[in-house]
């Protein structure tokens, strides 16, 4: 198993490099003088000189890539001119808040989605199935940012159950109760779409599995129906559900951008949008590479989980 994890980690290296290449190439599409583009409104002559020196912007494209990559490997993601702060510090602060939000949503969507999918499949065409199918359809059709706004109207403004917004930075204090109180609405709003997708997929994966011969074998053995569904069938269905959970983690991270805007959550998504609007290119670049790299590592964890579940995968 350790060998397999090492192997997967090793195979992530080219992917990580690929990510940096893609981000670099996209950023190289910016028209005009790169120094001016990167600095935007902060293009004082000193700043231009500094950035030309730091990033080797006079050098050819390939050389620039390696300078950039080399800097990143030493933890230097550049400086945000709009915030006047090292990019990496800002990203780390913001990412912890995003991780809290997205992580909670991810757990919610996995548990609720799989449970809903299994029940829906086991009671195919029954009332539970119809109810869940409709709820799922509504869930995947509603824009998460609209849902978040409506939740604010109902649960914060009308019912006053939860605060509208105002989550402090994760390190800002306030204690567990305060954080949890702020977390409930955004986490649910963010989880809704992903829960719908997971439920849908779990349902069809379960239906597929329930038709398999080995389910008939289990029934022919006299195994109780509850165990047939939640044991034999779900276990086999997890083989196709787990990769989807990996993809959904990406969707939750993506959806977090909208939810952070709606709930004023101090996460990395809001940081990126602000940075784009302020044309703080280095902050965008650093944020994207950092989050994408974390996502790659998460997907390795998903692969490892898959190999633990399925003995047919060669480890």
């Amino acid at each position: 198993m350790t060998g397999y994890i090492l192997k997967r980690l090793l195979s992530a290296v080219p992917v990580l490099l690929g990510i940096t290449v893609i981000v670099f190439l996209i950023m190289a599409m910016i028209p005009g003088d790169p120094a001016l583009a990167i600095l935007g409104a902060y293009a004082t002559p000193e700043n231009v000189a500094k950035i030309n020196r730091d990033l080797g912007l006079d050098a050819p494209l390939v050389a620039r890539y390696f300078i950039w990559l080399g800097n990143m490997l030493t933890g230097d993601f550049g400086t945000s001119f709009s915030l006047n702060r090292p990019v990496i510090d800002e990203v780390l602060d913001r990412f912890s808040a995003t991780l809290l939000l997205a992580g909670t949503s991810f757990v919610l969507c996995s548990v609720l989605g799989i449970a809903a999918g299994v029940i829906s499949a086991a009671k195919q065409y029954g009332w539970a199935d119809k109810g869940i199918t409709f709820a799922v359809l509504l869930g995947i059709s509603i824009p998460s940012f609209f849902l978040g706004m409506m939740m604010i109207l109902i649960f914060a403004v009308e019912l006053r159950w939860f605060p509208v917004s105002g989550m402090k930075m994760a390190y800002g204090g306030g204690g567990f109760a305060d954080v949890a109180n702020h977390l409930v609405m955004p986490a649910f709003a963010l989880a809704v779409v992903a829960t719908g997708v997971v439920a849908r997929l779990s349902r069809s994966a379960m239906l597929e599995v329930l038709r398999q011969d080995f389910i008939r074998t289990a029934r022919a053995k006299g195994v109780r129906e509850g165990r047939v569904v939640w044991g034999h069938a779900l276990r086999a269905a997890m083989v196709s559900i787990i990769p989807v959970l990996g993809i959904q983690a990406g969707f939750v991270l993506s959806g977090a951008v909208y939810i952070e805007m709606v709930f004023q959550w101090p996460g990395v998504g809001r940081m990126l949008v602000d940075a784009i609007l302020k044309r703080d290119i280095l902050l965008v670049q650093g944020g994207v590479v950092f989050v994408a790299a974390c996502y790659v590592l998460f997907n390795i964890a998903v692969d490892v989980a898959q190999s633990l579940l399925d003995p047919r995968i060669k480890t």
Binding site: V15, G18, I19, I22, V23, I26, M27, M29, L138, S141, I142, P143, F145, F146, M149, I152, L153, V157, V164, L207, E208, L210, R211, D213, F214, R216, T217, R219, A220, K221, G222, R224, E225, V228, R235, A236, A249, G250, F251, L253, S254, V257, Y258, M261, V273, A275, I276, L277, I281, V284, Q285, V288, V291, A292, Y295, V296, L309, D310, P311, R312
Partner: protein, 627 residues
């Protein structure tokens, strides 16, 4: 045509289609409607409520008419969403088909690139693209289309790889077609439904995505507004004037929901598996709808006695009479062979005994199954379950598909024991090892921790047999247990089964299509054709002097080893479809001896002693066979 009617039959999809058409129509005629200019500001009249001063939906924070902005915004959102879906599908499909068809290094290179793109949470890529190109609706469209290309490419590639290895592609190659022609005429027509399904299920998603970018202020720029940026602008006044937010938000919801409803309908209508009902879940026990009187068991002596059993498949308006009144019985220690071609109903008969016929579409519509004198048809599920695997056990055909791929074989054996007997895990495990030894699996102690895929076909079938033996059942029903195996392995499994039944006095019902197997293993044989037994009797007697023309001609058309080169006696025609059975003998259309009487009413299964035949013109006078 069939597609449209299927789509319309789906009420939800039709409703989605109607709503979407209305929205589309409204979007198309928007420029012709007498609406206020959506971009003219009138700050004096900001935040009017719906209905005030002739503004049907009120005004926004700059006093612009919300209805006009809504309709123009809808137009824009739809156009961008559809365009993004089209471009993503086009480029994604092209990449996927090329990678999937050519395979090898081309595939490897392309898919590595796709994997790279998919390694991003998609919005990061979209944000990076917008960051580089600058905010704007066109750039948002490019970003959304670009991040969706990998999804299409991967999906279409998977389908293409499957198709590229299909035999009809090989056949086209042998017919002289080149690569381009094969892609265009063989692959593409089979991929298009998948592309359509993928598009119809993702358009809604793309509309959400472009609206999302606009919501963030990265899409359409003021004063132009799509639904997303309307919502984004309204956010500031969410608490004071919620209607400005609700209007565009609800519109997005309506559009996306109707597209998703329609998309699901399109998918259901195009996917052949959904169409054939292959994705319905079988219930824990076959549905029973018994009409008419329940036949009595009659004379005893049999451990399992099937009386006038009828099982049908109800598929849409058709009724397939898979089993049309079968009488079978098996005594302790006896091996009964049931022989027939595919579609003869032999397997369905076997599965009906314990209610294991998949339902839907299977329904047991008549007859009785007496196990030790008690009728099992219509018995409560819990009673059936208690008997399954404990008193009546099954061995199935394909040992790879019938064992759970993710459980160790030992755990599957232990479960079989513990579900009926409250013994400890270690006790059950010891028993499992003993069972594996009984079925002559070498190194049983270590093999018990193997997964099914780590064993050969023969070893897996031995596990299947061990599982059937786990609770010392009274009856074993073996449904073509050796058909998937090689001939040398088959011989071993058959001899194992033969030894076991003699040692344990098991009653076995052995389903097969092979006369050689029946002859070697079974005491009695029943021949099935079109859901009914046409002849039965002691194996040796039936094989020596078959009485039903079908039996005798079936025996004649199977070549037997050692006969040298020869011409076979083929039976002309095809077995009948069991949803359109004519009255009388089902074999009559293929039978040389058929007379008018054969096509008139029911013919009884009659004969002296153990032998019986369902024929007016039997090949031979029945001699009373001795079992």
């Amino acid at each position: 045509m069939q597609f449209l009617s299927l789509l319309l039959r789906n009420r939800l999809a039709a409703a989605g289609g109607v709503v979407l058409s209305l929205v589309l129509l409204l979007a198309l005629v928007t420029p012709l409607l007498p609406l206020a200019n959506p971009d003219v500001t009138d700050t004096a009249n900001r935040f009017l409520m719906p209905g005030e001063q002739g503004h049907w939906l009120g005004t926004d924070h700059l006093g612009r008419d919300l209805l006009a902005r809504l309709l123009h915004g809808t137009r824009l959102s739809l156009a961008v969403g559809f365009a993004a879906a089209f471009f993503a599908a086009f480029f994604g499909a092209a990449i996927g088909i090329i990678a999937g068809y050519f395979g090898g290094r081309t595939d490897n290179l392309i898919m590595r690139g796709v994997d790279m793109l998919m390694a991003f949470p998609y919005i990061l890529l979209a944000l990076a693209i917008v960051a580089a190109l600058g905010p704007g609706l066109t750039n948002a469209l490019i970003a959304v289309a670009a991040v969706n290309v990998p999804f299409f490419a991967r999906n279409i590639r998977g389908v293409t790889v499957g198709l590229a290895h299909k035999e009809f592609v090989d056949a086209a190659r042998l017919a002289g077609l080149g690569h381009t022609r094969i892609i265009l005429t063989e692959i593409l027509p089979n991929v298009i439904p998948v592309i359509v399904i993928a598009m119809s299920t993702t358009i809604g998603w793309m509309i959400l995505e472009t609206a999302g970018l606009s919501f963030l202020g990265l899409g359409s720029q003021p004063p132009q507004a799509d639904l997303g940026s309307m919502l984004g602008e309204a956010r500031g006044a969410l608490i004071t004037n919620p209607h400005t937010s609700v209007v565009p938000g609800a519109m997005i919801l309506v559009i996306v929901m109707s597209i998703n409803l329609l998309g699901d309908g399109v998918r259901d209508a195009l996917d052949p598996r959904l169409r054939s009902g292959a994705l319905t879940r079988p219930m824990p026990a076959t549905r029973v709808e018994r009409k008419g009187t329940i036949p009595a068991e009659g004379e005893g002596g049999a451990v399992l006695n099937l009386r006038q059993l009828q099982t049908q498949f109800h598929v849409k308006n058709r009724i397939y009479k898979a089993v049309g009144g079968v009488d079978l019985k098996v005594a302790p220690g006896e091996c009964l062979g049931v022989i027939g071609e595919s579609g003869s109903g032999k397997s369905v008969t076997a599965l009906s005994v314990m209610g294991l016929v998949a339902s839907p579409p299977g329904v047991i519509t008549g007859g009785a199954v007496y196990f030790q004198g008690q009728d099992l048809v219509g018995a409560p599920y819990e009673r059936l379950r208690a008997l399954r695997g404990d008193k009546v056990a099954y061995i199935f055909q394909d040992p790879l598909a019938t064992l759970h791929p993710l459980y160790k074989v030992g755990d599957q054996l232990v479960e079989a024991i513990r579900v009926h007997h409250p013994v400890s895990r270690s006790e059950a495990r010891a028993r499992a090892v003993a069972l594996l030894k009984q079925v002559r699996i070498p190194n049983a102690e270590s093999r018990i921790d193997s997964y099914p895929h780590e064993m050969s076909g023969g070893m897996r079938q031995r596990v299947g047999i061990a599982m059937a033996l786990a609770n010392d059942p009274e009856v074993i029903i073996a449904d073509e247990p050796t058909t998937a195996l090689d001939v040398t392995v088959q011989a071993q499994i058959l001899s194992l089964l033969d030894d076991l039944r003699r040692e344990r006095g098991l009653a076995i019902i052995f389903i097969t299509h092979d006369f050689g197997v029946v002859a070697q293993l079974c005491d009695r044989v029943a021949v099935m054709y079109a859901g009914r037994i046409v002849e039965t009797g002691p194996t040796a007697a039936v094989l020596r002097a078959p009485a039903h023309p079908y039996t005798s001609r079936l025996i004649a058309c199977v070549p037997e080893l050692g006969g040298g080169r020869r011409r076979l006696e083929a039976i002309p025609g095809l077995p009948p479809a069991v949803d359109r059975l004519e009255p009388g003998c089902a074999f009559a259309p293929r039978c040389l001896k058929a007379s008018a009487a054969c096509r008139e009413g029911d013919i009884a299964l009659e004969g002296p002693g153990a032998r019986a035949v369902r024929c007016i013109h039997p090949e031979a006078e029945l001699e009373e066979g001795v079992a």
